[in-house]
Symmetry: C2
Subunit: 282 residues, 2 copies
């Protein structure tokens, strides 16, 4: 991968990277199109497909995370992607392992502020896995531009911080969330939503709509009250449980006491056994 991309750089081509965990949907394809737009016709677009074990906790869905490389490649071929980079665990982590005394892998990239909130509370080692694997992918693919999805907004904010702090020569683009017709944010994990759970899952979209509507009625509302209203709405669905809802400044992720226009809302909801996240600027 490095040999190829170093050649691309020598040839003067701009290189775009879309890091994914595969099982692609329209959301991913919109990132691919954004990458193509950024690097131009003569540029090179690489999509990485890698379900990174170090960002999953032991109890999470690493082993059952949906995978379909053949279908993914067919979709990306249609999009005119130049390279699909799909390394194995053994290639990414020497000794094929990610913990315990036996592993030979011992270097991590850690972001210590932005990664403490929200997803970092529910998934304590998650972002350490993300920053480490994204640093690896940046060094392997050597992109000029990398495109991330707005749905994983905290992740994108942390990657931006990592790029700035560690001086990666990469421009980070965050592209809008793509939604199903009923407003559910596209996610590979939506595949888990069977029967009525699929309908219940639209409650994340409805919760954000309710916050928008509340802000239309009054210019400033206490975060505490909006949180309580959100919880009530979420838990009106029989199989939905609110993990967190936060209102915060987009750049610093600092929580606000009073919510007004421009504040970001983010929430995580477990529907059945599936954990879904969404976020939007109010």
């Amino acid at each position: 991968m490095q040999r190829l991309t170093k050649k691309w750089h020598r040839d003067g081509a701009h290189v775009g990277l879309v890091p994914t965990m595969g099982y692609l949907h329209e959301g991913h394809l919109s990132l691919v199109r954004e990458a193509r737009k950024r690097v131009g016709k003569k540029g090179k677009v690489t999509v990485s497909i890698y379900v990174n074990p170090t960002q999953f906790a032991p109890a999470e869905d690493f082993s059952k995370y949906p995978r379909d490389l053949k279908r993914d490649c067919a979709m990306l071929r249609k999009e005119g992607v130049d390279v699909v980079f799909a390394p194995t665990d053994g290639e990414m982590y020497p000794a094929g392992s990610t913990g315990g005394e036996a592993t030979l892998f011992s270097t991590y990239v850690v972001e210590e502020k932005l990664s403490k909130a929200m997803e970092g509370v529910s998934r304590p080692a998650h972002f350490r896995g993300v920053t480490t694997v994204v640093a690896k992918l940046f060094n392997l693919v050597l992109p000029d531009v990398a495109v991330f999805g707005q749905k994983d907004f905290q992740q994108a904010t942390i990657i931006r911080r990592m790029v700035r702090d560690l001086n990666f020569p990469v421009r980070v683009i965050v592209a809008p969330t793509v939604r199903e017709a009923d407003g559910l944010a596209m996610s590979s994990r939506n595949k888990y939503l069977e029967g009525d759970l699929r309908r219940q899952a639209t409650v994340l979209r409805r919760a954000m709509d309710a916050a928008h509507a509340a802000l239309k009625r009054s210019k400033k509302i206490s975060a505490a009250r909006l949180k309580a209203d959100t919880r009530k709405l979420i838990e009106s669905e029989p199989d939905a449980r609110l993990d967190y809802v936060e209102f915060f400044e987009p750049e610093t992720l600092a929580p606000v006491a009073d919510v007004s226009t421009g504040v970001r809302m983010a929430l995580a909801v477990v529907v059945g056994k599936t954990r879904l996240i969404d976020n939007e600027t109010l």
Copy 2:
């Protein structure tokens, strides 16, 4: 720096980096010559000069560490170095700071195994500062080859591990320690050694020579005994205090119980107020 080095890459030039803290001596110049040898006449050699605050503990010699950029630049001009990269603290760490709640800098590169021993015991946050700043320098200078000194052997081993684990597209070269006529390893900190301390400082060289000699007499010696002998020799000097001496496998830094040919010896000694390190393969 990135704009320049990206142009070099487009032009097909190989790029070499020698990271230093300045106040250069013959040891540094030998690294510069090694870098030139590796990238060739048409290649580009960059020397970075940066006294990195994050690798010093509060009680250490960060503020009094010797600096002389003008003299350094004159020396490097003579060596035909292409660029001296000497960033300020404000350029390297946003908000000019490296700790406390006020700083905006929050991403670190951490190596969690090799950095626990030896220097990592005496200087617990040292290597985290080193790996972070070297990652930054790699991303800023984008070298194909980086040259480190054998005197900082543990540092070089950790950088190699970081490069492998995070897939930096950089070849790490470790060049031999350059010594004064009496065997003292060259170091910017030797400047601190006044009067008889300069003579006493040769005890590191003498301690390694004694270990070599002991191994000539018997093929295998217990590390415990060699450590005791080393301590005795070091403390025969009135102003010298042994910080540590270790015998270990070079790649893993794993201590050995019995010392034989091929084992590495490393030691740190405080002479007066100056902490000196040295190491050698037996």
